[in-house]
Chain length 246, copies 2
């Protein structure tokens, strides 16, 4: 059965996240699956590279699905886009290797968190940034980020307390860019736990405020205790930017 790879963009504001849920139509996966099923008259299992939380955006989420009916990928893309609402768009559909799996084959993911310096965010970006309204010391945030890079047990940064699987992940790099009116934090890693990026940002913001020391990062990691890490940042500032494959 042909295997298709799909690249999807969405504004998460109105959705309860990527993952399909019972009793709601407001998930990205659910919306896409329903349109693919209507198109193919088959039952479709759309597998994303990973879940995104409610309110989180994606510039290039990747998913795959098997479909018996073989169709022109450009026509499939046009069909799906026609039935999707304005805040979800398919950027690409292509035939993939039979064994391609959007989640299992993902080599790295990049997330970006945008902090707007000021109380009132830029009108045009207001749905994609979190306004902080206070000065942050970006230098010490960068130093703290160095302690977070690498392979660690990130249990302290996991929003799911009942997580049974491994909480070890590798953060390849954290880049913190300061531009005129924003601070942008980019996380690239082999995978991220539930809420992990937003808790990492919350912790770094507390460093930027001077409420925490740079060196505390190691203690937090070692504690494996969610209580020790910083606050969960709001979803609106977070965007899944890229998923890379082998």
């Amino acid at each position: 059965m042909p295997n298709y790879k799909m690249i999807i963009q969405y504004e998460g504001t109105k959705y309860k996240g990527w993952q399909e849920q019972k009793n709601t139509d407001a998930t990205i996966q659910g919306r896409l699956q329903r349109i693919l099923e209507r198109m193919s008259k088959e039952e479709i299992d759309l597998q994303g590279s990973g879940r995104t939380d409610a309110g989180v955006h994606a510039r290039a989420q990747v998913a795959h699905f098997h479909m018996r009916a073989f169709g022109d990928t450009e026509k499939m893309k046009a069909y799906v886009n026609e039935y999707l609402p304005e805040d979800i768009a398919v950027l690409k559909v292509e035939l993939a290797d039979d064994r391609f799996h959007a989640r299992l084959n993902a080599k790295s993911k990049t997330y970006e968190y945008r902090i707007f310096k000021g109380d009132k965010p830029d009108v045009f970006d207001r749905r994609y940034v979190f306004p902080i309204g206070e000065k942050l010391d970006v230098g010490s945030m960068r130093q703290a980020a160095k302690y977070l890079e690498g392979t660690h047990d990130f249990k302290a940064f996991c929003g799911n307390r009942r997580m049974k699987k491994s909480t070890v992940r590798t953060i390849v790099k954290i880049e913190i860019e300061e531009i005129e009116r924003e601070i942008r934090l980019r996380f690239t890693g082999n995978g991220f736990l539930q809420n992990m990026v937003r808790i990492l940002v919350g912790t770094l913001v507390e460093v930027g405020r001077g409420e925490r020391n740079v060196e505390e990062m190691t203690e937090i990691i070692e504690s494996r205790d969610r209580q020790r890490a910083g606050a969960l940042m709001p979803a609106k500032g977070l965007t899944l930017m890229e998923v890379k494959y082998r």
Copy 2:
């Protein structure tokens, strides 16, 4: 009485344009004036650099107003921003020369029209671009634009048929930039008539489609006949980018 200069950003989607109107609260000028009046307990006459049509956006609209009460401009800005909806923001308030007039002293204005190549616009920019879904010949659009630059009677490009004042304007330059997924048209001039930029873009799009010759531009200008020019483009693609003063 102190004279203040204000720089304002707005997403025009939900508004009936800049200019205050009776029987509606949905104008940018009206919203701002009401907040300034509540703050100062004075009657305020907020003068913009010019009107923008319903649905048109602004990155940096400029306005001025006189206010008896003298206040800290940073506090004034914070007060107004607090009461404004999310889609309007004051970027700056500053004391201006007594004789400063946002409309009469404007030396040039720059508008940008964004055309998205494709049927389904980028999710994050969907409110600010117009999706065209067909190929345009940007080279001939650039050639045609050269004929439109300069000082001309732009009556053929004026949306207001009952316009009694002069319809002579100077377009200093038209830049057409083609990037990966968009064509951006930037118009800089000493002033623009009602709907003028959107009709200019509509005419250039018809050139890009091959429906009009480049040389026709001169005939259209000389005709002074709205019927000869192209279609009015949708407001959502248009943004007032900058107003310059002497």
